[in-house]
Symmetry: C2
Subunit: 223 residues, 2 copies
């Protein structure tokens, strides 16, 4: 069985977990903290980042979350997530990159640093100026998602795609860390609450990262 090296608040591991679950691929969770990755982990992935998916029987290690998603898209027919014409597929991949890079860099990464790494590793208080800036940038990203949902059923078009999984993964980590103010984002909230009720999403919402507690609305389905 595949081993997924991850930690509960890794948004890229969450994206991969959503994909594996939607496609019905089984895996075991192996915990790997980003601040003290093991030698074994570095040997599996010279980039030193989660997620890594490893099949011990075949000695096959996959890393980089987009490469992992493309691999399962190519090898498992169920629940296609990079689908349609070449332009549709380019739009899906554009949005995945937007959430993986821009949303992550603007919102998720600073929240993880201030509210996870400082608390669990550095033993420092969070910098409220950086938190405010991340929450402000989150509004801009949610505005863009609102606009997408005004114009499309799902983020990249008529069907659910990897773009939805990538966005939900980033938003869920940001929401866990108290970085999402849902006021004024009815479209995104509606899309996200449909997502939260999916069987693929439920296990993620029930996990906790040590002493860090999410806000009360985090795992509720109707909020």
């Amino acid at each position: 069985m595949w081993r997924l090296y991850q930690f509960p608040l890794c948004p890229f591991s969450r994206k991969v977990r959503l994909l594996l679950s939607e496609k019905g691929v089984g895996y075991e969770l192996w915990r790997e903290n980003p601040w003290d990755a093991s030698d074994e982990f570095w040997a599996l992935n010279p980039a030193g980042r989660t997620p890594v998916l490893y099949d011990p029987e075949r000695r096959l290690a996959l890393s980089d979350s987009r490469a992992i998603c493309e691999y399962f898209e190519e090898t498992v027919d169920k629940a296609p997530m990079i689908n349609g014409t070449a332009s549709n597929r380019a739009e899906i991949r554009r949005l995945v990159a937007l959430f993986d890079e821009n949303f992550f860099g603007d919102v998720t990464m600073p929240l993880l640093h201030e509210r996870m790494k400082k608390r669990l590793v550095l033993r420092q208080p969070p910098d409220s100026r950086i938190l405010r800036e991340a929450m402000k940038l989150a509004h801009g990203h949610l505005d863009y998602i609102d606009w997408l949902i005004d114009n499309r059923t799902w983020l990249a078009g008529a069907t659910m795609s990897l773009a939805d999984l990538a966005a939900a993964a980033q938003i869920s980590v940001a929401d866990y860390l108290g970085g999402i103010d849902w006021a004024g984002h009815e479209q995104t909230r509606g899309w996200y609450s449909v997502f939260k009720s999916r069987p693929s999403f439920r296990p993620l919402l029930s996990e906790r990262m040590e002493v860090i507690q999410p806000p009360r609305h985090y795992a509720e389905l109707d909020v």
Copy 2:
């Protein structure tokens, strides 16, 4: 004809240009500086980053360099660059991400900030401590490429792939900015000099970015 929005030292635009040229796809260069992107450009790409490829006749805009490369891999049969079994393709995509994210973040991005943005926009001297750190990290990346070339003909396996284009694109920008010390990296140097002589690479090597001059060896084929 496709318009490629780029600037001469954008490593992601260079990767796309190498791919388009290998595949025989024509395009026009449109200059877009990252520090003062036009409204027209933001409308084409909400992520605000080069490269963007735009077809005015079809009003089709493609952005994110990996999404662009996948699009042409799917639509143009010539010179396949994400080829082989699903595992081979995962290995190609893993390496592309390693160069696009780790090499870029460790080496190319700090060099661009210190030697391009500070010179052309901020009018500040470069920080020599940051330059030394970027060059030190470049050695680590070249060590890894040396190791790949010890074990494979091309970076991801037996044939040239998008991994080679991604690595050459990053290295060429870092080399232009004086960030690559080639001493001790014979394997990488051999691989790179083969690359520099390809028709797809020659136009890149002859371009200059305003007043910034590359070191003398930059465009020479036998160095």
